[in-house]
Amino acid sequence: MSPLKLAAIPLLMFGFGFALVPLYDVFCDITGLNGKTGRIEAAEIDASQVDTSRTIEVRFLANTNTGLPWDFQPLVKKMEIHPGQVYEAVFRVRSASDRTTLGQAVPSVSPGLAAEHFNKTECFCFTEQELAGRETLDMPVRFVVGTGISDNIEQITLSYTFFSLDKG
């Protein structure tokens, strides 16, 4: 094998290192590896599919990370839900600063195996959120837990963490 052909391998593998990033996301979508949740359109939900024989406890957690002067809480701490039905949970965020601040929420679902069946029709995640000084805002999440979820899961945790986007 000529050295030039060999040199192509490291170049390809360097590219592959970066390709691991989207590949990892695809892998996570399939397996729920990192607890990232799915998102579906409201129209896709089939109301007849509700499985009332099963009850799952969904718990809500809210965290703020460093640098963000926000108080962030779920209005209800937990809900009993049936797979297939759409529910709404509200999170309240309040700025304790006098200036305008910017944050962004990152969701996470645990256990990982539940994440692939945890779908949100409305969500405030991954979008920049601006709060004026001392503003309070209620943010709804509408979600449905797929009926295909494993029988081994009776308890799910949905967590949001707000990260600061303020530069400086």
Partner: protein, 377 residues
């Protein structure tokens, strides 16, 4: 001749090892093996560990035995003449298949234990959120509105130059986490800065706490007692100094403890309503500073150049009080500066800001009252 020398050396090594073992066995505090722990899972893990260990011992005896045999008997000095075989398909198939079968024998119980370990089937009785913070743990009983910080006890900090005789050195905290026995406890792990790992060997719980993500694990403690652990993932300078203490008690004692924690929180809220004097703020501020800030910013406020900024002469500290409060209360994104709003109460925060402004070589002259902190949360 060589053989005699060899065997003598071997004997020395063996007796050395044996005396090491026996001296260890003689004193209980020398632990040689993994703990059996106090949860059903920890017992399973211990049995699995011993199973794999003994399989390794048996394989080791066979392989090293064959090696020792040929070293002793097939040596040139004993007149051994080399055979010339160098291939045998049968024997190579045998020693591929037999290890495979042994591995299957390990994989079956391991799979069972792993499935139990990852169980999310039954609802937990208690949910405890554990947040890793450089370099302490925050515990939140999510259904009880009880939340506190647990960090290395002062008794350990005081004796670092010579800890001789300090029982539970580095394994003692100021505020242990209290849990009832015979209840299923679900732990939810989260981090506010870097990756930490919460590990208590007796509970067989070791899980990373990752910023932005939630991890979970569970335990049912069967024996009351005090169980100690440590952070298991390198998380910066004081990684070795963020212990965990779990105090497992009866359910009644647990309920009692919850009540007292809530009373404590109410009392702290009441004291935040008062006006504080400069003298009281400075005295309290010094304690808070040494416990929470000095690890990075230094006991005298000198910091660590290039890593952690100095307090003495810091433009932020010497500047407007509101900016100073903002950084202490909310932390600074993208740096190691944590948000202390979730860690300290209004009085402590007011005291430490006042202390930083008027001690450690600074003299701004103003005072920060707890009410100013409350306004900034």
């Amino acid at each position: 001749m060589i053989f005699n020398k060899l065997s003598r050396r071997f004997l020395v090594v063996v007796t050395g090892l044996v005396s090491m073992f026996s001296m260890s066995a003689a004193r209980a505090e020398y632990e040689l093996n993994m703990t059996q722990g106090v949860t059903p899972i920890s017992q399973d893990i211990y049995s699995l560990h011993m199973l794999v260990f003994w399989i390794c011992v048996v394989i080791g005896v066979v392989v090293f035995g064959a090696m020792a045999w040929s070293i002793l008997h097939h040596r040139k000095s004993k007149g051994a003449v080399a055979a010339n075989f160098h291939e045998s398909t049968t024997i190579e198939i045998v020693w591929t298949v037999v290890p495979l079968l042994i591995l299957i024998g390990i994989a079956i119980p391991a799979t069972g234990t792993l499935l139990d370990l990852e169980d999310a089937k039954t609802n937990a009785d208690i949910t405890l959120q554990v947040t890793g913070i450089q370099w302490k743990w925050k515990y939140t009983y999510v259904d009880e509105d009880v939340s506190f910080i647990s960090s290395l006890a002062q008794s350990s900090r005081d004796v670092m130059s010579d800890p001789t005789g300090n029982e539970n050195y580095l394994l003692e905290v100021d505020e242990p986490v209290v849990l009832p026995i015979n209840k299923k406890i679900r732990f939810l792990f989260h981090s506010s800065d870097v990756i930490h790992a919460w590990w208590v060997p007796e509970l067989a719980v070791k899980q990373d706490s990752v910023p932005g993500f939630i991890n979970d694990s569970w335990a049912t403690i069967e024996e009351p007692g005090i169980y100690r652990g440590q952070c298991a993932e390198l998380c910066g300078k004081d990684h070795g100094f963020m212990p965990i203490v779990v105090n497992a008690v009866s359910e009644a004692e647990y309920e009692q403890w919850l009540v007292s924690k809530k009373e404590e929180a109410a009392a702290a809220a009441a004291s935040a309503e008062q006006e504080w004097s400069m003298k009281d703020l400075l005295a309290r501020g010094e304690t808070v500073y040494q416990a929470n800030c000095s690890a990075c910013h230094g006991p005298t406020g000198a910091g660590i150049p290039g890593a952690f900024p100095a307090m003495t002469g810091s433009p932020l500290v010497l500047g407007d009080a509101a900016g100073h409060i903002d950084v202490v209360v909310n932390g600074k994104a993208g740096t190691a500066m944590a948000a202390f709003k979730g860690q300290l109460n209004d009085v402590d925060l007011a005291a430490v800001v006042t202390y930083e402004r008027n001690a450690l070589g600074n003299s701004v002259g103003d005072m920060v009252q707890p009410s100013a902190i409350k306004n900034a949360r």
